[in-house]
């Protein structure tokens, strides 16, 4: 049955043919096409006009919004790590020592499988200034409720909090998997020696979990730098939140392309952002290797 149809020599190429075709049409061609377009002015209706490096020059030297979005994107990516990673670590540690981990896991991973539109709409109600659940709760405590989504100084922080809420389950699962690999005899030995739970966490868990922590930080940073669907849906009808305070570079590119039809400049933004992410990733990969992490 089926024998003789395919020689052993030809087989790998038959298996790889779909991938090679896909790579040409949906990877190589787009990467080159975007690079070419970034050197032109193109409104997608009339033919592109060659402008050399002028789009890049405009972004680096003239455009005040571009650099602002870069800083705001860095703020978003770093902020969600600074808040999210320690939180996930502590929750995973508590979770791994609890009696019913299954129940907790279900509750903590629910946001992971909820689509981003639902998440954003849920929080657009929770964050409402006058009658949102969060400000009602703060009111019960006698605290003033700020305009989470309308105050420019809070808008990006609100997006960070939602992102942390979404990602907590994933990070917690990764940490829990790392925790399982720690030999329990370390804990037993340290406990016999009179170490408190805090000492176990601080002196055994954290050092031995370093590879997982670095993995979570690096992948989290890349996704944070590239992410903007949340802000797109959380601040609808605005140019990236109140006074553009939640405008990230990705969303800036998206609006430039699909609303202003400036395909050339938008492609240049995409490539500059890509370069930034790449440099940051390479730096972090070096750190990971030094931290003894096996990277695929």
């Amino acid at each position: 049955m089926l024998s003789g149809l395919l020689t052993k020599k030809a087989a790998p190429w038959v298996f790889l043919l779909p991938i090679v075709l896909f790579a040409l049409v949906f990877f190589v061609l787009p990467v080159l096409f975007a690079a070419y377009i970034s050197l032109t002015t193109w409104d997608s209706l009339s033919p592109p006009r060659w402008v050399g490096l002028r789009n890049y020059g405009f972004l680096f030297l003239t455009d005040p919004v571009f650099w602002r979005t870069v800083w705001q994107t860095l703020y978003f990516a770093t902020g969600s790590l600074v808040i999210g990673v320690p939180l996930a670590l502590v929750v995973a540690f508590a979770f791994s020592r609890s009696r019913s981990p299954g129940v907790w896991r279900t509750l903590y991973t629910l946001p992971m499988v909820t689509n981003i539109v639902a998440v954003a709409l849920i929080f657009s109600f929770v964050f409402r200034e006058t009658d949102g659940a969060l400000n009602r709760f703060l009111g019960l405590l006698g605290l003033p409720g700020p305009g989470w989504l309308t105050d420019p100084s809070l808008a990006m922080l609100s997006a960070i909090l939602v992102f942390v809420w979404m990602e907590l389950g994933r990070n917690m699962l990764l940490f829990a998997a790392g925790l399982q690999q720690i030999d329990p005899s370390y804990y037993e030995a340290a406990s016999l020696d009179g170490a408190s739970t805090w000492h176990l966490f601080r002196h055994i868990t954290v050092p031995l979990l370093r590879p997982t922590i670095l993995f979570v930080v690096v992948t989290g940073f890349i996704s944070g730098m590239s992410y903007f669907t949340l802000m797109l849906v959380l601040f609808p009808g605005t140019q990236g939140g109140p006074s553009r305070a939640a405008l990230t570079t990705g969303q800036y590119m998206y609006q430039m392309a699909f609303e202003d039809l400036r395909m050339g400049r938008a492609s240049a933004v995409a490539y500059v952002l890509f370069a930034l992410v790449l440099v940051a990733t390479l730096v972090q990969l070096r750190l990971m290797r030094r931290g003894g992490v096996e990277v695929h």
């Binding site: 049955m1 024998s3 003789g4 149809l5 087989a11 790998p12 190429w13 298996f15 790889l16 779909p18 790579a23 949906f26 990877f27 990467v31 096409f33 975007a34 508590a94 979770f95 020592r97 907790w104 896991r105 509750l107 903590y108 991973t109 629910l110 992971m112 499988v113 909820t114 689509n115 981003i116 539109v117 639902a118 709409l121 849920i122 929080f123 109600f125 929770v126 009602r136 809420w165 699962l173 990764l174 030999d183 005899s185 370390y186 030995a189 016999l192 009179g194 170490a195 002196h203 050092p207 993995f215 890349i222 609808p236 590119m253 998206y254 995409a270 952002l273 890509f274 992490v293 096996e294």
Partner: protein
């Protein structure tokens, strides 16, 4: 004990601890206190995870009058359970649901198949260019999605001989306005190829060669011998891809803004937000979100164990 010394000297450390006389027990208050603290912490966190969902359900149950009252009513006194039915006639939820299911299943099937084929070829054959191709699939993973948004849109738009286009890609609309625009760009996952290669590497070559000696062809070896052995890997990848693409919004929104018939659940609900600007109608919008979230939550609860494996499979090994 300096923390840097622990990983390297842990066995010696353990031996030293056992030899220590007399062994000091942790005080009882510490153990009790910490388990209470652990529980409180987990419960508090769980509340933060779940309350936003409940807030949405409460919102969906409010009457227009309760929403417009000053101050607005939080706990609905006359819960509008009918809202969950009304949304199906108010917006094309069933259509969106069918689109989501069809597109997501098609993408999942394609990605699993292409990943298995490529992973098998890269793991179990020797041929010139193999290492180069493998390195390409690794390098391709570094390219973020936003690089492809603009070029994909126009490649699909000007795809030759499709959707009324001539050989030069002019005259029609290409793949835009068809399901292919939602599926084709996601037919292959570089990460999935890497993952499946890992699974196929674990199969001994002798097993496949034995089948070949018995006269089995290469297709037989792949489909009937190798694939069944990596069933767990296929399921892991399938679940991960399914949940990821069920929730995909950005690309689908970009290509279906002007094609309402192709919109998926999240995209449809998002793009219809203008209809629910009026405060009185917001309960229906919230009901739609609840209805759109529920099916995937139920699937998740059923398959949770396997999904967890799929999330952690790509992380740190060893």
């Amino acid at each position: 004990m300096p923390d840097s010394a622990i990983p390297a000297t842990a066995p010696a450390f353990a031996a030293a601890a056992e030899a220590a006389i007399p062994p000091r027990r942790r005080p009882r208050w510490d153990r009790l206190g910490w388990s209470a603290l652990t529980f409180a912490l987990l419960a508090l966190g769980a509340a933060v995870m779940v309350v936003p969902f409940l807030d949405m359900v409460l919102g969906a149950l409010r009457t227009p009058a309760e929403r417009l009252a000053r101050p607005p009513v939080y706990w609905p006194r006359d819960p509008q359970w009918g809202n969950f039915v009304k949304v199906f006639s108010d917006m094309p939820l069933a259509r969106w649901f069918a689109n989501s299911a069809g597109v997501t299943l098609a993408i999942t099937a394609l990605q699993v198949l292409t990943s298995a084929m490529a992973g098998f070829a890269l793991a179990k054959y020797r041929f010139p260019g193999r290492d180069g191709l493998f390195r390409f699939t690794l390098g391709a993973q570094m390219f973020p999605f936003f690089i492809f948004l603009i070029p994909w849109f126009f490649i699909l738009r000007y795809f030759p001989l499709m959707g009324g286009n001539d050989w030069a890609g002019q005259g029609g609309s290409g793949f835009l306005g068809t399901y292919a625009a939602l599926i084709l760009p996601f037919a292959v996952t570089w990460y999935g190829i890497f993952l499946m290669r890992q699974f196929f590497m674990a199969i001994p070559d002798e097993l496949l060669d034995a089948a070949r000696m018995d006269g089995a062809g290469e297709l037989y070896v792949f489909f009937r011998i190798a694939l069944p052995l990596v069933g767990g890997g296929l399921a892991t990848l399938a679940l991960f891809v399914f949940f990821y693409h069920w929730n995909e919004v950005l690309w689908t929104m970009t290509v279906t803004r002007t094609a309402p018939d192709l919109q998926t659940l999240p995209v449809g609900i998002y793009l219809m937000r203008g209809t629910y600007e009026n405060e009185a109608t917001k309960s229906l919008q919230q009901a739609a979100v609840v209805v759109s979230t529920l099916p995937v939550v139920i699937v998740f609860l059923a398959l949770q164990r396997y999904y967890v494996a799929s999330v952690t499979s790509g992380s740190v090994k060893g």
